[in-house]
Structures are given as structure tokens and as C-alpha cells.
Symmetry: C2
Subunit: 178 residues, 2 copies
């Protein structure tokens, strides 16, 4: 199926995310990505025949990574609920330095449709959580709060201090246990 992933592909994807973060989501041009990835524009267009394909790949890569991480986290401790695993993973993700996923804004600016896979992924996850979580109220509140945390990270609002965040996370994990 996949004989060998030329690692240029990955380099390009990383470069694209970097450019979006550092130069701003509106300045994600093919030239900028190519030079950031240390590749020629021709080479870029060889790997991704259009900007749209690049964006698509960016979204899909992110989804794949998150899905894998969630499965791994969940599999690591079977006694833990999926919701708890989701909370812990999301919080951890939001703390990472390269968390500001500005490429999402680039994708939306290019065409809002690019987020369709992301939407359906989230929808599926939410339905799955609904099945596995006994307390609907707790699920809704914690899920939305995580979504809020993600949003604040995305927009780089840094309203929460270190201890605020800890209080929040404890409260969410506590609610998820019930």
C-alpha cells in the first residue's frame, strides 16, 4: 500500500504549521512553506499538487495523530474512562509549546469545507462518549469545558494561571469519574 513515505511530506507538513504559527495564518503561501521546508516550490507541488491538497493533508495528519494518541492513552489504563483519557490528553496537548494550531485558521480562510473531516471526527467521538458515559450532565459540561480550553489555546488567550488550570483539570476529572 504505502511502499515508502518520502519524509519530505512530513517535513512539508511541519513547515506549513510552523509558517502559519510564525508568519500568521494569512501568510501561509506555497513559497513560504517551500523555503521553510528547505525544498523548492517545484518539489512542494510534486508532493502536494495543489494548496488544497496540502490543507487537506494538514487536517488529516492532525486527526490521525490525535486519534492514535487517544487510543494509546485509553489502552494504557483500561480502568480509566474514555472521557477521562480524552480530558487528560486534551489538557496535555494544550500545554505543548507548538499547541497554537494556527494552520486551522489558514485552512478556514482557504475554504471552510476543509474542516469537514474534523467535524465528523469530533461528532463520532462525542457520540461514543455519550454511549460510554452514564452522567450526561457531567459529560456535556466537561466536554464543553475542554472545547473551551482548546479554543483559548488556539486563540492564545492566556487568561488561566498555572494554579487555575490545575483547579480546573482536577474539577473536570472529578466530574468525569461520577
Amino acid at each position: 500500500m504505502k511502499p515508502r513515505k518520502s519524509n519530505s511530506r512530513d517535513r512539508i507538513l511541519v513547515a506549513a504549521a510552523d509558517v502559519a504559527r510564525e508568519a500568521g495564518p494569512g501568510n501561509l503561501s506555497l513559497d513560504a512553506v517551500a523555503s521553510r521546508a528547505g525544498i523548492s516550490k517545484g518539489g512542494l507541488l510534486y508532493n502536494f499538487p495543489s494548496k488544497a491538497k496540502l490543507m487537506q493533508a494538514l487536517v488529516e495528519q492532525h486527526l490521525q495523530d490525535f486519534h492514535a494518541a487517544l487510543e494509546a492513552t485509553h489502552a494504557a489504563d483500561k480502568r480509566e474512562s474514555l472521557l477521562s483519557a480524552y480530558i487528560r490528553l486534551s489538557v496535555q496537548e494544550c500545554q505543548e509549546t507548538e499547541a497554537a494550531a494556527s494552520w486551522i485558521f489558514s485552512a478556514i480562510a482557504e475554504d471552510p469545507e476543509f474542516l469537514t473531516p474534523l467535524k465528523s471526527f469530533k461528532h463520532q467521538l462525542f457520540e461514543r462518549l455519550k454511549c460510554e458515559t452514564p452522567d450526561l450532565k457531567a459529560l456535556l459540561v466537561t466536554y464543553l469545558a475542554i472545547e473551551g480550553l482548546r479554543s483559548m489555546t488556539l486563540f492564545e488567550f492566556h487568561a488561566l494561571g498555572e494554579q487555575d488550570r490545575q483547579v480546573l483539570v482536577d474539577a473536570l476529572l472529578d466530574m468525569a469519574k461520577s
Copy 2:
């Protein structure tokens, strides 16, 4: 001081938000806004000497509106806490048809700095809520959940059904009372 508010200004601002929503945040061009507002490009640039000024005005208008609405809601019933008023107002805002504030994406794509006033507004509001709310845990969870709701509206994720949303809102208002 201001002898006459040219209502072109407001028409343009509304037109800009409409274009961002309908044509996509990446297609918010001056030409599109002008024609949508029923004005020439020259006229647009008379009212807003640059695209940056337009974006700025868009953000500031939104902030002003939200602030006024919050004060009004809060003043209407003094027994209600500010947090409850904030929750009710935000939920209501998210239900409105023209809620998808795609212009935010346009502003970010143009220059992330445009969100600075929004950030400091939110920061101030959060600090104020912190002073007025006895239960920090409840504040953090409800505030973040509202942020999550706003985020889902913005991205047009419609994962929550009608009754789910009602359960959520009841739970949040209940937490805010404590």
C-alpha cells in the same frame, strides 16, 4: 462632537460580517464588502482608510455591543450574579442565526494582533468574575464551558441537540448559583 453619524459606516460593518459569513472568511475583500454594502470601493476607503481600520472597527463594534448587552442584562435583575447573566447572554448569542462570527477568522488571517482588544476585554471580564464569584471551581468550569459553546458555534460544529443544550444550560446556571 459628532454632528452626524454617517450610517454608511454601520452598513459597511454589517456588510463585512455578511460577506465573511457567506463568501468565507478568506474572501473578505474590499470590493466584496463595498458591493455588498451598496457603495463604491472609493466610498468604502473614505469611511475606513485601510482594510486594517475596517477590521479594527469590526472588532471594536462587536466588543461594544457585547459589553452593552451584558451591562443591560446584568442591570435588569440585580439579584442575578454577573456570571449567570454572562452565561445566559452568551447562550442566547450562540443561538442567533447570524452567530457564526466568521469575520473573526478574516481578522486573524489579516493579522492576529487585531484580536488584542478582544483578549484584554475577556481578560478584564474574567478577573471581574473572579472577584464576584465565591466558588472558583464553578467559575472555571462554567466559564470554560461557555467558551467551548462559543467555539463550537464559531466553527459551526452542531454536535449538540436541542435537549442536550438545554441540559447543559441548566447545569451551568445551577453551578453558577452556588
